[in-house]
């Protein structure tokens, strides 16, 4: 049973943040998490259900200066197929490719994935490696107010973020990775995608003349929550291995053995 009294589908960001003022709002984006959770009674829908899918400012993937801006409503499929992402952020494509199923990728939004902050959220790891920032909008007084923070700060713990109830996540901004940047995402599972991650991990850094610096490691499932770390990790390369995939171009993979904090499931 819900306390639901209003359904609202704003068509502008101003309308949305105005509605969010009283904080008693459940936000509907892709719905792939909200639908089963609310039907099973694990999430109670609040007084207002606000569908943000009709707000144009929340969509789109664009290059703005030296940043890629991904709107909160971008679906996982849209992200992994976008030329900008494929060219500049292959580790994000890698994670998206291991996300659920095609049907869910077509509907699940980046914003939803971020705000759920599940340790098993696959997109979160590459975003942390890439030093992504989230932008939040609200209307504390009479007009639209935006502020941003690093994703690593945005996450507080499993399922917990710094988004207050009257804020809306509008987009994610990712700085274009520098020269020599490499990053990989790995998810442990017997299936290519459909498993919710039991252990997931990402590692990125700058590779120059065979040496990896500025290493960033992000743990997802199996750790204590998605978080990044400036890692002084004990690692040794096992050399580069060419692993040609059928029908795809060769990709170089550097294999690293890490100190794993994964708990045995």
């Amino acid at each position: 049973m819900t306390e639901l009294k209003h359904y609202f589908a704003p068509t502008s960001l101003d309308q949305a943040v105005e509605c969010l003022k009283d904080g008693d709002v459940t936000i509907l984006a892709g719905g792939t998490d909200l639908t089963p959770q609310s039907q099973a009674g694990r999430i109670r829908i609040k007084r207002t259900l606000m569908n943000i899918r009709h707000i144009p400012q929340l969509s789109g993937i664009t290059l703005e200066g030296r940043e890629i801006r991904i709107g909160t409503l971008a679906t996982i499929t849209e992200i992994m197929e976008h030329p900008l992402v494929r060219q500049h952020l292959p580790v994000l494509v890698e994670a998206c490719n291991h996300f659920a199923s095609d049907q869910i990728r077509n509907a699940a939004t980046l914003g939803g994935n971020i705000c759920n902050a599940s340790p098993a959220g696959d997109t979160l790891i590459p975003l942390l490696l890439l030093d992504a920032r989230v932008e939040l909008a609200s209307m504390p007084e009479a007009k639209l107010y935006r502020h941003s923070m690093p994703l690593a700060t945005f996450f507080v713990g499993p399922g917990k973020t710094r988004r207050s109830l009257c804020e809306l996540l509008t987009c994610v901004r990712i700085p274009l990775p520098g020269e020599g940047h490499v990053a990989h995402f790995h998810k442990l599972g017997t299936r290519p995608a459909l498993d919710i991650s039991t252990i997931s991990i990402g590692i990125g850094g700058t590779l120059r003349e065979g040496v990896l610096t500025n290493v960033r490691v992000a743990f997802g499932a199996g750790g204590t929550g998605a978080r990044g770390a400036e890692a002084r990790c004990r690692h040794h390369r096992q050399g580069r291995r060419h692993r040609p995939r059928r029908g795809r171009t060769d990709r170089r993979r550097a294999r690293h053995r890490l100190v794993s904090q994964g708990n045995d499931p």
Binding site: Y7, A9, L28, N51, D102, I104
Partner: protein
């Protein structure tokens, strides 16, 4: 009493209206409000793909979509695809290749396969297997389903 909302959308090419419970999912709307039972309930959690439909040109699980979110959108269900001659080759391939046993997963499979072939008209077996990874089947072991989808792309599919 539960909150209702009126929506207007296009279903299988026909514009229509519906009055739906705001908390209802699209699968329940299709089956119980509109009365189209071709789309199946398999799990209600997006894990089995039996409820797959197409919305604005992409496939998704109708059990994971709020009915109110259909407002202003274009939906295609298996009933709509059954009347679409471009999908004939796919349907015939399923029949000819023995890809149907109990048939319960079949509508969802075909909806997903149709979408997959639109995006990847020359999908090979590996691409098809990844493409239907969100559709469970307990009867066939998937092999003939994959064969059918690969064969269909050789049929009379036209480019989107």
């Amino acid at each position: 009493m539960s909150l209702k909302h009126d929506i207007e959308f296009t279903l299988n090419g026909v514009k229509r209206q519906a009055s739906v419970d705001v908390t209802m999912n699209t699968l329940a709307m299709l089956r119980d409000v509109i009365g189209l039972t071709g789309t199946k309930y398999g799990c209600g959690e997006g894990e089995c793909g039996a409820c797959t439909i197409q919305v604005d040109g992409v496939s998704l699980n109708s059990c994971l979509m709020f009915a109110v979110d259909c407002d202003g959108r274009e939906l295609t269900t298996i009933e709509g695809l059954a009347n679409d001659s471009k999908a004939d080759a796919l349907r015939e391939a399923f029949v000819e290749h023995g890809a149907v046993q109990c048939g319960f997963c079949t509508p969802g499979m075909i909806m997903q396969a149709d979408h997959l072939l639109h995006k990847h008209p020359h999908a090979d077996a590996e691409c098809v297997k990844r493409g239907i990874e969100g559709n469970l089947c307990r009867c066939t072991g998937y092999k003939k389903i994959v064969d059918a989808i690969v064969a269909a792309e050789d049929g009379q599919r036209t480019a989107p």
